[in-house]
Structure formats: structure tokens, C-alpha cells
């Protein structure tokens, strides 16, 4: 259970440069590369002390960036982590968003998750129609030449591999005689 942390606004320490005569005299909000996209109000200096909505109840596992102290007040619950990919995702969230360990682990989890998805479909009695899912109906309609080319290349590679395997096996048998 995480403890709610209430961040404290940053106040300049007494005697800091903010006490110097002329501090801020040349401040010009329009001389800001984010102007006019940002309507500067100074709210940044209140840090996380802004009015908040009620907290959404956590009903499923939600992974949380370690760069924030608490959950956001609302969050998505689309696909909670599960399986091997879920374990990897939990591991990834030990690292900050500035770390390759975070993002590359998540990409690896995504690839494993795609295989888990096929297994999950089969477990639920669905044989995924991968050709339809990849939009081959549209490809056949609008890009037939390319489909035929890809199928021909695939068939040629398969034929070459099978032929090589058969010949290799036959060669081995001959040697053993």
C-alpha cells in the first residue's frame, strides 16, 4: 500500500539570488519559446499542489511510473499485465522512464504478448485468421501483384529449404551406408 505524498512547493531559501536587487526585472512571458502555447501563470512553482479530482478506485493491477509519487486520479484499465509478458512489464517499471531497461523490456514484453495472444485465442477455441487480421483481403483487392510476388517468394524459399533438407538427409544416409 503506497502512502500518499503531498509535495511541498519550492520556496527560495533566504539569502538566495532571488533577494538580489533587480531580480526578475527583465522577465517577459512573451520571450518564452512556448509562448503563446503556454499561458504562463506561475502554477509550475506550486508543483503538485493543485486541486484534484476524486481518486478512481483501483480494480485491476495498474503499473505506475516510478517518476511519480502516486497514481493519477483517473487511469485506463484496458489490459492489466498478465503472463510472462506481465512479469516483464512489472520488471520494466522498476526502471525510470529515462532508462533503456524500462522501454526495451516493454518492447520485449510486447513481442512475447503477441505470442501469448495466439495461445490465448487457441485456448478459447478460436483459431486466429492471421491473413484476415493482416488485411490480406484489402491487399488482394488493391495490391494483387505484390501479394502474388510475396506468395511466390515465400513458396520459392520454402521449396528451397525443403529441397535442401531432403538432399541433406539423403546425403547423410548415403554416407552412413
Amino acid at each position: 500500500m503506497k502512502t500518499e505524498i503531498t509535495p511541498t512547493p519550492i520556496h527560495p531559501a533566504p539569502g538566495a539570488g532571488t533577494d538580489l536587487p533587480g531580480w526578475g526585472i527583465d522577465a517577459d512571458p512573451t520571450n518564452n519559446p512556448t509562448h503563446p502555447m503556454k499561458h504562463y501563470t506561475g502554477a509550475d512553482h506550486d508543483r503538485l499542489n493543485y486541486p484534484r479530482a476524486l481518486q478512481q478506485t483501483r480494480t485491476v493491477e495498474v503499473l505506475q511510473s516510478n517518476e511519480r509519487p502516486t497514481l493519477t486520479r483517473v487511469f485506463g484499465t484496458a489490459v492489466p499485465p498478465s503472463g510472462v509478458s506481465g512479469m516483464l512489464r512489472r520488471y520494466a517499471f522498476r526502471f525510470s522512464e529515462g532508462s533503456a531497461g524500462h522501454w526495451l523490456t516493454l518492447i520485449l514484453a510486447d513481442r512475447i504478448n503477441a505470442m501469448e495472444g495466439i495461445a490465448d485465442d487457441l485456448r478459447h477455441g478460436t483459431v486466429p485468421n492471421i491473413f484476415a487480421e493482416r488485411g490480406w483481403n484489402a491487399a488482394w483487392k488493391h495490391d494483387r501483384k505484390n501479394v502474388i510476388k510475396r506468395v511466390a517468394i515465400g513458396a520459392a524459399i520454402t521449396a528451397a529449404v525443403v529441397t535442401f533438407a531432403v538432399m541433406h538427409k539423403a546425403g547423410k544416409k548415403k554416407l552412413s551406408i
Binding site: T34, Q56, A78, P81, F93
Partner: protein
């Protein structure tokens, strides 16, 4: 209900057994979708380039719909209202929202601090299901959703959720001054809209660069700009320097992002092997083609790790880089006015209208740029009757 279901890179399907969304927070609403688009940035998800895109997710961050149910704190909307829903999920009260940065809300995405919550855009953007579905949960429904003005075409309205604000903000961030030459990299819907909007800021000359001929032709007609195929002009940076009297463009806009073509090295390291967060070819060209002291505006989507860009040239040329996700809510009043006054005609970008049931084919067509596709909208069952 029927919804798009992501099954892994290059694999999506229409699934009739998806659960109906529920109110999970007093500031939620449930919306019955009437229009939903496939965005160019959805293709980054579809191609497996965005980390934490989980199998079983529903994409879709550009949609309109009819309010079916509201949470107990919602007083700004009522059941039956027809709304356009900005792609950003924004609380409206955090420091960032208060300052107009609705695309950077701090209370909508627990899973990353570098990006605010976005509908249907992976768990890296908050883990929300998106609008390529019959129904969708809309958090903070008292902030983002906007009632579609009477008389506005629904096809215009759905493009106000992302394409128009992002294209407009790309031009806005360019700080375009009257008389400027603006170069837009990428002739997808966002690039074309950015080129069109550049004129609103007083550009004198607008050039768009891409390699898909039909898109360049579309851009010439729609955005009234010069359009060049980088495969036939040699070195694009040299071409643009020559075209600007060897001075450089005043403003360059990267509307391509992580799937740029044009450099074998960038493509290999960014798209094929993921050694960097996508191919940064367009950004590379933008930095090199802009004048000294110029502005590079980035709205193209990149991954969160790292990219190969000539940062030394940014320093030595004194370039200002401006970038952000569009702050849709901030821009909507102005953009609704532009659309209603006929200054912008977003629905002309739509080339394909596809039933939601055929979502796999729609993704393939858009991804492979088949059938002269510029912009695809998905129509859920019963939506036409609602419209």
C-alpha cells in the same frame, strides 16, 4: 459490443465480444461512437513501435459520439449530446492544464510522466481503450468533450479531435511571420493540414516534401503549396537551400515522426532493428534545411528512448526547437470558427469510409498507402442513423 482488437504487430481484427465500458469515476461519461478515424500515429502502434502496446487493446483517439451515460459529477453534458472528443485526456486542474497544456496533463497517465493520457494509445499513454469501437469510456468528460456546433458536418467534427489541431499547432509552434518560407516534411493528413494552416499565419511560400506521388498531388490541390518528391530532387537539404537562395527555410515542420523513409541508415537503425526510437530522417532534414536562428516545429511522433539527430547543428545554427502534442481544448474555439467560416475544410481529407467490421482491411490500406488513401474513417454499426 463491436470493437477493434489489437493482436500483435500488423494484426488487428473486429471483435464482437468486447465488454461494454463502464463508468469508473464520477467525472466519466460513456459515449456511443458515431465516427472514428485511423490516425497516422495509430500506424506506429499497428507496426509494433510503441512500447507497452498490449494484445487486446482497442485503438482510436479521434472520434465523435453521442453521450449515453454520465458520472455523478458531470453537469456540462447530458445524455443525447453529440460531442467531439479531443484525443488528450485532461483533468483541467493540474498545473499543466491550468496553463493551457492540455496535452501534458499530469493526472491522466500513471504509467508515464513524459506523456499525458491519450485514448487508445497503449499503456504508455495511460492504458485507455480507444474509440474504434461502438462505445468508449471518456474520463474527465467535463473538460475535453465539446458539443458539436449546430450545422457542423460530422466529418469535419471528427477531424477537429486531432488532425486539424495538430496541423494547426505545428504551424503555430513555427512562429511563422508574414513573408516566411515554411517547409513541411510529410504529406500525410497532419502535414497537409500544417501546410494549409501555414497560410493562416501569413506564410509567403509553403513547400511540402514526401515521396508518395498521390499524396504530393493531393497536397498541391488541398494546401495550395509547392510539393516535391524527395526521391527525385537529390539531396533534399541541398534542394531546399537552393530553393531559398542558399539561406534556409524560415520554419521547418516535422510532420513525419518515427517511420520516415529517405535514409537507409536511419531506416535500418530506427525501423528495422529498433536501435533508436524510430527513423529520424525528417527531423534530420528539418534541422539542416532551416535557416540560422530558424524554428523547427515537431509534431511527428517518436518513441521514448533516443534518436540520431544533428544536435551540434542545432547549437551552431541557434535553432529553436518547439514541439508538443496538440493542446486540442485550447485550440478548439479558434478552429471551430475557422471551420464554420469555411477557412478550413477538413472533411476534404477523407478518402475512405469503412465499416468498423472491416478494420483489418482499413489498417492495411492506410499502412501500405493503397488506393490513394489519405484519411480513413471507421463507421460503427448504427452510426449512420445517429448522424
Amino acid at each position: 459490443m463491436l470493437a477493434m482488437n489489437y493482436r500483435g504487430p500488423f494484426r488487428v481484427r473486429a471483435d464482437r465480444n468486447r465488454p461494454y465500458p463502464e463508468i469508473m469515476h464520477p467525472r466519466d461519461a460513456i459515449v456511443r461512437v458515431t465516427r472514428s478515424c485511423i490516425c497516422g500515429s495509430d500506424l506506429h502502434l499497428y507496426h509494433g513501435l510503441v512500447p507497452d502496446t498490449r494484445v487486446g487493446s482497442t485503438f482510436g483517439h479521434e472520434f465523435t459520439g453521442i453521450v449515453e451515460e454520465v458520472g455523478e459529477e458531470i453537469t456540462t453534458l447530458k445524455v443525447g449530446d453529440h460531442v467531439l472528443v479531443p484525443f488528450n485526456i485532461a483533468c483541467g486542474t493540474c498545473s499543466f492544464c491550468q496553463q493551457g497544456l492540455y496535452g501534458n496533463c499530469h493526472e491522466s497517465n500513471p504509467e508515464a510522466t513524459a506523456v499525458g493520457g491519450i485514448f487508445g494509445y497503449s499503456h504508455t499513454a495511460g492504458g485507455y481503450d480507444g474509440g474504434q469501437a461502438e462505445y468508449v469510456r471518456v474520463p474527465y468528460a467535463d473538460v475535453g468533450p465539446t458539443i458539436i456546433p449546430a450545422g457542423m458536418d460530422l466529418d469535419d467534427a471528427v477531424l477537429l479531435t486531432d488532425v486539424v489541431p495538430t496541423g494547426y499547432q505545428a504551424a503555430e509552434m513555427g512562429g511563422i511571420q508574414k513573408g516566411d518560407t515554411v517547409v513541411v516534411f510529410g504529406a500525410g493528413p497532419i502535414g497537409i493540414m500544417a501546410a494549409r494552416c501555414a497560410w493562416l499565419f501569413g506564410a509567403q511560400r509553403v513547400i511540402i516534401i514526401d515521396h508518395i506521388e498521390y499524396r504530393l498531388e493531393f497536397a498541391r490541390q488541398y494546401a495550395k503549396c509547392e510539393a516535391y518528391n524527395f526521391r527525385s530532387i537529390g539531396d533534399p537539404v541541398f534542394f531546399l537551400k537552393k530553393a531559398t537562395d542558399y539561406y534556409g527555410a524560415d520554419v521547418c515542420i516535422d510532420a513525419v515522426g518515427c517511420e520516415a523513409a529517405g535514409s537507409a541508415m536511419q531506416t535500418f537503425t530506427g525501423r528495422k532493428t529498433l536501435l533508436q526510437a524510430g527513423s529520424a530522417t525528417a527531423l534530420h532534414w528539418a534541422i539542416n534545411a532551416v535557416k540560422k536562428g530558424g524554428i523547427v516545429s515537431i509534431v511527428g511522433v517518436y518513441g521514448p528512448t533516443w534518436n540520431l539527430v544533428p544536435i551540434g547543428n542545432v547549437v551552431n545554427k541557434g535553432i529553436t526547437i518547439r514541439a508538443n502534442q496538440a493542446s486540442v481544448k485550447r485550440l478548439l474555439p479558434k478552429l471551430v470558427d475557422h471551420v464554420m467560416a469555411g477557412r478550413l475544410n477538413p472533411k476534404e481529407l477523407i478518402t475512405h469510409r469503412v465499416p468498423l467490421e472491416e478494420v483489418s482491411d482499413a489498417y492495411h490500406i492506410f499502412s501500405q498507402k493503397l488506393d490513394n488513401c489519405i484519411k480513413t474513417i471507421l463507421i460503427p454499426p448504427r452510426a449512420e442513423a445517429a448522424a
